[in-house]
Symmetry: C2
Subunit: 246 residues, 2 copies
Amino acid sequence: MTYCVGLCLNHGMVFMSDTRTNAGVDNISTFKKMSTWDIPGERSITIMSAGNLATTQAVISILEERSKEVADRDPDILSAKSMFQVATLVGRTLKEVIAANAQAGQRADSAFNATLLVGGQVGDGEMRLFLIYPEGNFIEAGADTPFFQIGETKYGRPIILRAYEPDMSFEEAIKLLLVSFDSTIKANLSVSPPLDVHVYRKDSLKTGRTFRINADDPYFQTISNGWGVALREAFTRLPDFSFDDH
Amino acid sequence: MTYCVGLCLNHGMVFMSDTRTNAGVDNISTFKKMSTWDIPGERSITIMSAGNLATTQAVISILEERSKEVADRDPDILSAKSMFQVATLVGRTLKEVIAANAQAGQRADSAFNATLLVGGQVGDGEMRLFLIYPEGNFIEAGADTPFFQIGETKYGRPIILRAYEPDMSFEEAIKLLLVSFDSTIKANLSVSPPLDVHVYRKDSLKTGRTFRINADDPYFQTISNGWGVALREAFTRLPDFSFDDH
């Protein structure tokens, strides 16, 4: 499986993805699931992927190749005029790759399925974040739903629902995502560090800080251990149930 | 969906189940998913169910009818000589009900599937907790895995993994389960109060305290609100991420 989150903040976006891929439980590998493109001063685009690795790598490679061939740039994600056009293009590419694989003859084409998060900013447009389905259509994050998760989403969802604030600093947002990822990693073998991070600052129109957090990263260790302790303390401070009232 | 947890403690067991059933998102109802049987001084048995409601109600009705017909009591869960035999009997009944429904002709028999938790104590045997699969086979909780969840298990799993202690009091265990249920309820429409609870005291060999916790229960409200506040406080106290180290 996989776990990726894209988080919209008032002053930017934070993207985080794990790197574990597995076929069953015994064929596990490390692959980057986050790709970034930019034309400094003009656009920044981040894509994260969950699902069939052959599908997602093909989609990224196609997008990558198209963006390099200047003559062949129309349509590509570096020339699309808006984030909506970028999402449309990525969705179409995803749908085509899945269809091409399914054609070759597997009973269930769900095996080729993948889901993508596409976020960024183009020109004087707003920052936008899309979740793209295998069918190529997509939904957009907004004030009511300011983040998207793909992959193994459930374990790490409650803490984001409770602690997210749109005006969090990048530092707080990364902490929040690390708590969410740590809960997922502790409960599910198919999600694992290293974790890739991209922090996009609103209106910067270029790829921001990108870095990788390894399992032995001291801060990640602090969060992982500290969160367990903090949870137990928080739990202890809540009043115990009383049979007298029930 | 559904969410049920059976928790083994040193001095007893705590069972908790929600009551929401749904077919799609618009046909939602309230059904009890927990059943208890006892012969005071001799045995106590609790069954919780997740999955197709027609299947689980049929299983419970068959077990119930058999246990009432004294002449027909062999084999039934009130005469089985051990919890292992109880689990075997329940598993066989579940498998038969699923097979009988599937025979009638639906393409995917998975639609009739259900999973059960069976816990309790018989005679001078130990307390035991089993998770029974639709195939009728089962696994047993032990010191390494002292609790089972069925249904919508993921949202509420991290807190149990972090805060469970085998020597918790019943009051602490109920608090833990309410936190786990609250996280699930907040994230998933298919799980909802009222919540049914059964607290079995080790070696009591009779049904213990059973009660229902409604959405407006003051203690449940305290936990639900208090946990949100406590989580945010715990989160705030963790050190923020620093870009300087990455």
